[in-house]
């Protein structure tokens, strides 16, 4: 439905304003941006044709958001001051709304104009701090500043709902909130305009059908070009997103600008030529079946206490997922993916916080340093530079590492998952990757099983101990008597006494207790349990001695008037006890009480079993302690303690 027909003030070609919210129409004949004003039509200048960004969207596409139908009626391409372009699509809704659908790096953000409450205004651009919450904006979840920059509209098409002036720079800030909330502050107007919405998928806005064919086609899309420096062949794996590429022939760093290559400089390789473990161009399949292609690699470093530490990062790409990273440091590997900054919670200002929470887990700060790009190879989706420096803060909760990288214009969060050698070797078909000799910041401790689930046998032991108690641990006295050892002429002459026969049960241990009123004297009892049926004998020696005295004004005692000895079970049946006593230190008759008990619960077996079962857990607790000590010895915030890791 055409609301307004007019002629282009530049070329007089017919133009149409089909939506009430349209402010600017791009003349399809002469590419002039024509604005309608209260005085007529104004030519704002020529805009370029939009470059093919391989977006799945196109003008005229109809979608649906939360039950409201819309049509994509306009599009602008804006250039980021750090390099790169992004698309903004303008969705005209049937109910009169206008939505801004931004598309950047394969993600989509649908936002709407958000009027500010009376008297409220957002902070000025220069006062806006990365990582801070813009509390003035009414929204369900706090919105955090994640990026500040300058945008320049360079191309447009269709109808634009604001006054788009070609090549006129304006400042903006991107905001992020929990649950995929997203916002933008546009400082091109005074007061600034605020747009609030959320990250969406094409399916959520009724444009799912626009996605698959285009996305799939990207898998096979690769641009073959010539290096402007050496004319050598150069292949771009992701030509629609690549901003920088290095020439494999002459090591030049090239800028990729809308399909054109521009020579920037020849890279100076570091003193030690980096030996990348994974070749650029190789592909790796991970556990979930996702196949990533390595399109770039870089050497980065941090300097801590005068020592430079290097590591390698590989840029991975998969068309339907986007970019991921594989980080190789000290022969440890991490798979890294970006996360929403608003999903990270910190107890204080997010910049420099000592701990952070993500996905319900607490992460402890491990390192806070400036990370520098030393060398690059391959292609990259941003304007990477040798010497590019960001503040990198790492938080750990093994096997995860939360990383915050802050530049003057943006703040990025990512989460890395520790990968074993086997995973990397299997993924890329490599063999014999070097094994690490150190403990990585987020390396999980491999032995925690033994003091967690590995405690199950100990728990079972307690269970069995309790269950068996009624059968084996209820003491029963089978014989007790007092025998009197007659006095002897000499201490050494043994006296022999026999008991009356008594019954011993089978499968029960036997405890023989001897008790005698010795005082500064001793009686050694050689006790034989004689099986009356077959004359088998089990012997045990029971010494009973008790000495006391005073030495240096202090009393002392030694020995015990009651002593017992325990035997394993004997065959059941009738037994006679033979006691042979050797008494020292007394010439008087010595009464000795002998008691035979069975089913005595000594707990020796239990404690031996417990000790045997506890050896492995105890060893692993000790290993864990040393493991954590080694981990934290590498930290700028070294402290002992658990990293909360899981295997």
């Amino acid at each position: 439905m055409t609301l307004l027909k007019a002629n282009c003030p530049s070329c007089a070609g017919p133009i149409e304003f089909t939506a009430g919210a349209t402010v600017v129409v791009v003349c399809p004949f002469c590419r002039s941006a024509v604005a309608r004003t209260d005085r007529g039509y104004e030519d704002l200048g020529k805009v370029s044709e939009v470059a093919d960004s391989r977006s799945p969207l196109r003008l005229g596409l109809k979608g649906n958001f939360k039950g409201n139908r819309f049509e994509l009626t306009g599009r602008a391409q804006l250039r980021h001051d750090m390099g790169g372009f992004w698309d903004e699509w303008y969705a005209t809704f049937s109910n009169g709304w206008v939505g801004w659908l931004a598309e950047a790096q394969g993600k989509f953000y649908l936002t709407f104009y958000q009027p500010m409450p009376d008297g409220a205004t957002v902070p000025a651009f220069d006062r806006l701090e990365l990582g801070s919450v813009v509390s003035e904006i009414p929204n369900e979840t706090p919105l955090i500043v994640i990026e500040k920059g300058t945008a320049t509209p360079v191309a447009a098409d269709g109808e634009i709902p604001y006054r788009l002036s070609p090549n006129e720079q304006s400042k903006y800030a991107d905001l992020s909130g929990a649950n995929n909330a997203f916002g933008t502050i546009d400082y091109s107007t005074d007061p600034p305009w605020v747009f609030v919405g959320q990250q969406v998928t094409l399916a959520e806005i009724g444009l799912k059908s626009a996605e698959p064919a285009t996305r799939e086609s990207r898998r096979t899309t690769a641009g073959v070009m010539s290096c402007p420096n050496c004319a050598g062949p150069l292949t771009l794996a992701v030509p629609d997103r690549t901003e920088r590429v290095t020439c494999p022939n002459c090591d030049s760093l090239l800028e990729v600008n809308r399909g054109n290559l521009k020579y920037l400089r020849t890279l100076a390789p570091p003193a030690d030529e980096p030996n990348f473990a994974i070749t650029i161009g190789s592909e790796g399949t991970f556990k979930d079946g996702t196949r990533f292609k390595v399109i770039g690699a870089m050497v980065r470093s941090v300097t801590i206490e005068g020592t430079k530490y290097f590591w390698h990062e590989y840029l991975l790409y998969e068309p339907s997922i986007g970019f991921r990273w594989l980080v190789h440091s000290d022969d440890h590997w991490n798979f890294v993916e970006p996360i929403n900054a608003a999903d990270v919670l910190a107890s204080e200002n997010i910049l420099g916080a000592k701990s952070a929470r993500y996905n319900g887990r607490k992460f402890r700060i491990f390192q806070d340093a400036s990370a520098i790009v030393e060398y690059v190879k391959g292609e990259f989706y941003w304007r990477v530079e040798q010497g590019e420096t960001v503040r990198a803060v790492d938080y750990i909760a093994a096997p995860l590492m939360l990383s915050q990288e802050t530049s003057p214009s943006e703040i990025n969060w990512s989460v890395g998952v520790y990968q074993s050698h086997a995973v990397i070797e299997n993924a890329f078909g490599l063999k014999s990757l070097p094994r690490p000799s150190s403990v990585a910041p987020n390396q999980p401790f491999g032995g925690s099983f033994y003091y967690t689930w590995g405690l199950l046998p100990i728990m079972a032991l307690f269970g069995f101990g309790i269950l068996l108690l009624p059968f084996t641990g209820l003491k029963r006295t089978v014989y007790t008597d007092t025998i009197t050892i007659p006095p002897t002429a000499t201490d050494a002459a043994p006296q022999v006494v026999f008991s009356k026969p008594f019954e011993l049960g089978a499968r029960r241990n036997v405890r023989i207790t001897a008790s005698a009123p010795v005082s500064n004297s001793a009686a050694d009892l050689d006790v034989d349990l004689v099986n009356d049926q077959n004359d088998e004998v089990e012997s045990v020696v029971i010494p009973v001695s008790y000495y006391e005295g005073v030495e240096g004004g202090e009393t002392w005692t030694e020995g015990d008037r009651t002593t017992d000895r325990t035997l394993s079970s004997l065959p059941g049946g009738q037994y006679t006890l033979r006691a042979e006593a050797t008494v020292e230190g007394t010439q008087a008759p010595l009464p000795i009480t002998i008691t035979v008990d069975q089913s005595v619960n000594r707990g020796v077996n239990f404690f031996i079993a417990l000790l045997v079962l506890a050896i492995v857990p105890i060893i692993n607790v000790f290993r864990k302690f040393t493991f954590e000590s080694r981990r934290w010895s590498e930290s700028m915030f070294g402290s002992s303690g658990d990293s909360g890791d899981d295997e």
């Binding site: 689930w453 101990g465 089990e538 004997l570 020796v604 031996i608």
Partner: protein, 49 residues
Amino acid sequence: MFKKLYLVFGMVVILTYSAASWFGWEAANAGSRSRLGVPFIYTGYRGGK
């Protein structure tokens, strides 16, 4: 692999403990070796005592 071995080892220890409890075996006992087959005639020999 080692985890499974450890659990198997743990089960063996528990079974051994249970068997010892059931049969009245004492892991640390003071008895002599049973002198099977020796009739009860005290010879005075006490293993070198």
